[in-house]
Symmetry: C2
Subunit: 353 residues, 2 copies
């Protein structure tokens, strides 16, 4: 029997805490019976929820703490009050200590990133971590990063993002040489930010064996699936992600209104319902829940704070895949090969001259 | 009879040039019989197209030029080759000379902005022009700016964008005091770019009579219609706009596929067709075509390059409204009042201290 995938859960994280985390864990366990959970949180609340789910109870261990990071805590505040003892910290710490393979939290992003950085530290050769999102596209799925770990990016960080994102694409999409694009405005080489142009020149000239750099892409290329990996700094990435989510919700709202407008439309809906279910699944933001923290010495998955059990289970699924397909070691290998090809900042001036 | 609205058209602009511009002008004329057009472009091509449309022929004048700015020309190239003589330049120049009230072009954005800046110059008190987009929302429409005139924004530019955007909202949406939000990542005051934070502090403290500053908004607030005016710098704004357009197209694609999947779904579609038409109209990017160049001494409207006659007509409509409801004078008045309330950079340090 292969080894279990050990997943540490911040059971108190998210808008709804244990009432979403516990049933979410149960759902993920149904799909992946080889998961072993450690739930960090208030035993008094967690135990009854776990006990009434015999299968989960057999695969889960509860570690008590009565400290939980608040959803509106500032990162510095969360660190001050929640370090060493909060459910969020302990979940990350289990990864640090090698007691878990991945940590999943629906807690607040700033606090989670601050604790993950503080405790796990960035990988050798990586300056700043990133958050990668899975983005449904017309061709399947793409990875978009950074979607909000940090604001602004210098040339080196953009190249790091390309390397980390392509490693993740190789793992999740099983691709030899994922295609990579830099998010920009206008596809002509003349436009856009200096850093983006320079990073593009470096990636093009390097012609790396583990990623296929295709050039600049624009906002509408993300949904088209023009590339497997879309690289951008965290401010624009976060805004793109939320603008797209907002648009999807907006159209869903329009559709609901359209189908309830007349009796005839309601009947039409009934007939087309099955076919529309596929669409609903594709548009369901819960199905692609789970931002992956990249660039740290350990895998941490951020679930949407306001998600339900299905959404939380999707975040656990992402963590599971990362471990099963050995994301961390693949990123490390890529980084080592990347370092060998010598794309450090010393090369920058040369590449663009 | 009130005065005509005089609209100058770059008849050679866009992917399809006259074959879209001329029928587009005809459509706009049907809706607004008080338009007088001047079409700049190749008379040999334009004349037959105009002559076969008697109503348009009666309301349009053709001014010949055989120079057209290429869709892939760099701004500097376009200026060098197209100044004084191209259809794009001449349309803008008609506004400059007071021979037209507004210019509309589907030509390339960079060239159009470069020529408009060079010829019309920025308004007194405005450092950099902006492109404002109309964005369909769950509550109607909002204005988002800047969507790509320039990259990056200092505090003063962001405040200018808020002032110009709210003037446009007052004109187009007939509002006394439009609500304004600054696009950011995370609504907590602690997050985001320094410039955005400072601009927020200034707008909040100023409590301007002609705009109601509501604070930070996120990418998904745009589609919700949380505010009438969304202010951001051009890189993030352009990416948000295109990411949303991409998502809308993606979902339209899914819908088409869903409705053709089975006979039953096809029948359902037929029954719901009328109701879905409303949805299609709402999602139709052509209906909100027309980026408005703000901050120049004259109104220039940019239509999508790849649009059809319906889309081009929508861009003409936007230009028409701008003139009819006196956008320019309202922006000027607002700027003068804005200058009086003394929000210059001298105030910045004070406001955030």
């Amino acid at each position: 029997m292969p080894q279990k995938v050990r997943i540490a859960l911040d059971a108190m994280g998210g808008d709804n805490g244990p009432s979403v985390v516990v049933p979410g864990a149960e759902l993920a366990l149904e799909r992946h019976p080889d998961i072993a959970f450690v739930l960090f949180g208030d035993k008094v609340v967690l135990e009854p929820l776990v006990v009434q789910r015999p299968r989960l109870a057999a695969a889960a261990q509860i570690v008590h703490t009565d400290v939980a990071v608040k959803m509106d805590a500032k990162p510095s505040q969360a660190l001050r009050q929640g370090r060493w003892k909060s459910s969020m910290w302990l979940a990350i710490d289990a990864v640090k200590k090698g007691e878990a393979d991945v940590a999943v939290s629906a807690g607040n992003t700033g606090a989670l990133m601050a604790m993950a950085k503080f405790n796990l530290r960035t990988m050798a050769g990586i300056e700043r971590p990133a958050i990668a999102a899975l983005w449904p596209t017309l061709r399947g799925e793409s990875i978009v990063l950074d979607v909000g770990a940090s604001i602004g990016a210098d040339v080196e960080h953009l190249v790091d993002l390309a390397v980390m994102g392509s490693a993740m694409a190789r793992v999740l999409f099983d691709l030899e040489r994922p295609t990579v694009g830099l998010l920009n405005i206008g596809v002509e080489e003349v436009k856009g930010l200096e850093e983006v142009k320079e990073a593009g020149a470096i990636l093009r000239d390097a012609n790396l064996p583990f990623l296929d750099y295709l050039g600049f892409v624009e906002g509408d290329d993300i949904g088209k699936g023009t590339v497997d990996v879309v690289v951008t700094e965290g401010f624009a990435g976060n805004i793109a992600l939320k603008a797209a989510e907002g648009t999807a919700r907006q159209i869903a709202e329009y559709l609901r209104a359209a189908f309830s407008r007349t009796l005839q439309a309601q009947l039409g809906y009934l007939l087309a319902r099955k076919a529309l279910q596929t669409l609903r699944d594709k548009m369901d933001p819960r199905k692609v829940n789970g931002g992956v923290f990249l660039g740290l010495n350990g895998v941490v998955i951020k679930s949407h704070g306001g998600t339900d059990a299905e959404g939380f289970a999707a975040a656990v699924d992402v963590g599971y895949d990362m471990v099963r397909y050995e994301l961390m070691s693949k990123i490390s290998h890529t980084l080592i090969r990347h370092a060998r090809t010598d794309l450090g900042s010393s090369k920058v001036g040369e590449a663009i001259s």
